[in-house]
Amino acid sequence: MAEFIKKERDFVVPGDEIISSMDYLPGRNCLREGNSIYAKRLGIVNVDGRVISVIPLTGVYFPRVGDMVIGEVEDVQSNGWVVNINSAHSAYLPLSGVREFIDTSKTDLSRVYGVGEVIYANINSVVSGNSIHLSMQDPRCRKFRSGRIVKMNPSKIPRLIGRQGSMIMMIKDLTGCRINVGQNGIICIEGEKEDLVIKAIEIIEHESQSEGLTDKISLLLGGSNKPHAPETHKETQEEIQAEKEQEIFDEQEAESEGDFDRKSND
Amino acid sequence: MIIQKQFISGLASRKMRIDKRGQDEFRDITIETGVIAKAEGSARVKIGKTEVIAGVKMGVGTPFPDRPDEGVLMIGAEFSPIASPDFEKGPPAEDAIELARVVDRGIRESGAIDMKKLCIKEKEKTWMVFVDIHILNHAGNLIDAAGLASIAALLTAKMPEYDEEAGTVSYEKKHKKLPMKFKPVPITVFKMSDSLFLDPNLEEEDVTSVSLTVTTKDDGNIVALQKGGSQSLSLEEIEKAFELSLKKGAEIRKLLEKHI
């Protein structure tokens, strides 16, 4: 059996050899050369069965279909809106992506979503990297009328959400704020204790790898010292997506608490 | 055009080329010197359809403060829009700057000209030598053509006369040669399909993604190197490139000697 040169959860930089074995396959952010699998990006090694991947710790946002994002309307065109989604390319929200029927001969589109307004939208399609279409069909989609916007490195968003949404639920509960998280690293906070939420986000961003993060956030927000129990339902799509990437962090944390069976999730 | 590139690299993987040349075979080289009467020295070099003119102009000026007893040599290049649909008007682009600096490294920094002999009066007056490279037709391998034209122009240049009392330069009487010490010749080795070749034509340049220009002098020493292109080379490939360019450099130097 081949030995792992870099084990699961180890930190890797581009070019690091993870394992020399044909028994494993290179997954996301990895490549095979000869018998070996190497890291392509800076991040954390993840072993899922026989697939080895690297979970990035940094990088700009690249849209994936199904992502919920927060964007700013940049331009109003005759048949839709151009939206800045904090990515290399702007996205397009066509009229067909809006829930209600709009008669363009009677309605000024800028009165629906005007330049500078902020929306919570769903990535509907991504073609050849730069043609990104949005949709407002998902019930969670909406236009923000108030709130405070903060940015976070998109690769840290899974940590903010937490496993099965545990982290974000805890922050929502303890602060009473309404928080919408865009996978593109934009977060909108509505509520009185928004300062506390921002403080929590800062800690999560800078200490995303540290152990006992949940406790630390709980303490900061005046909750009990016990980790927040994961909710049984998965509130949003991004939380489900975040879950897989989150696991790795949880294991790190949970193992130190000695109560986590990592096979139970498979 | 992908199929054309695939065709060329397919040939290259069998060490063959679209114009049937061998791996280390140049296209026909012609060197003409003294082509510009007004210039102190000049040369037109053709390598296949690639055509370059280098001209030497001289004047008297002040030495650089950090080299008070030396002459001044400046080498510049212009990729005139007449030479290729890809060349644009305006200040020299990246490629032209690189070409001039690679040629400069082979000639000036290597010490091919005895700069001390160009000084007329320390700290005050010295000969200034300007080599300007003008590309007339770009059909590949510009650095080798430009380097060859520049050294040919310098080797055949005649210095104007300087009247120290009047402080004037007379371009009517030219007789003395420039104090040249050796003849650096740049040879560019490029890689296609893991094999090394010399003298790329334009289509081959489109396929290649890495090259190494090796400038050698008469005694077989290397005086300048420049890797170009977006890919990398191994140490073994670099050694092979040294051999290729040393051998071809000596051949071209012989050709050059017929003209001086």
Binding site: V13, G15, K40 | A100, R105, F242
Partner: protein
Amino acid sequence: MKEFKREDGRKVDELRPVVIKVGVIEQADGSALVSMGKTTAIAAVYGPRSMHPKHKQVSDRAVLQTFYLMAPFSTNERVRPGPSRRSQEISKVTREALEPAVFLDEFPKTGIDVFIDIIQADAGTRTAGINAASVALADAGIPMRDLVAAVAAGRIEEHFVLDLGGKEEEVTKCDIPVAYMPRKKQITLLQMDGDLSPEETKEVIKTAIKGCEILYEKQKQALREKWVR
């Protein structure tokens, strides 16, 4: 034989003191500072982002742009601001030293911009810049085949000398900057001024490669220091 002494007392195959700091520019997507002796380079990476200027955009890959700049106060004699022929050539060879390492085809129609500012210059600025840029690219989460490490070597008297500094640049018989991908054993930058036989040239390149291997470990260590508690 008399023992050979370098002006700063280093051994022939010893690097100047190296400092690498990652994440020095908060606004950038990735950044790094590299000091080699008195030479200090700062690199910032922005992107992948929308390509400027737009006409340089390429449909099937990202475009890597590099901008090497010397601060006016970085040398004894003030450097005139703005691009010079030298800085434009260095920008080009720096780009070509990094390109072999970067997976540009993963980000079609975007630009990745690398800005390298030399804030203090004492020989080896292009190699310090490449070291900083390579670490900054990794810090920005750009996918790469390997990190790129770079250093110059030369020949003083009969010795092959690593990492020329200060006045050594004036006395060396040659100055050969090399950039290298240690895992791939591939050379991505190779330039030379000087006058050496092919065999000696090869030895100088090998000396530089050994230096690159040491720098490579320091680059990895610096990235770890930022990203692992």
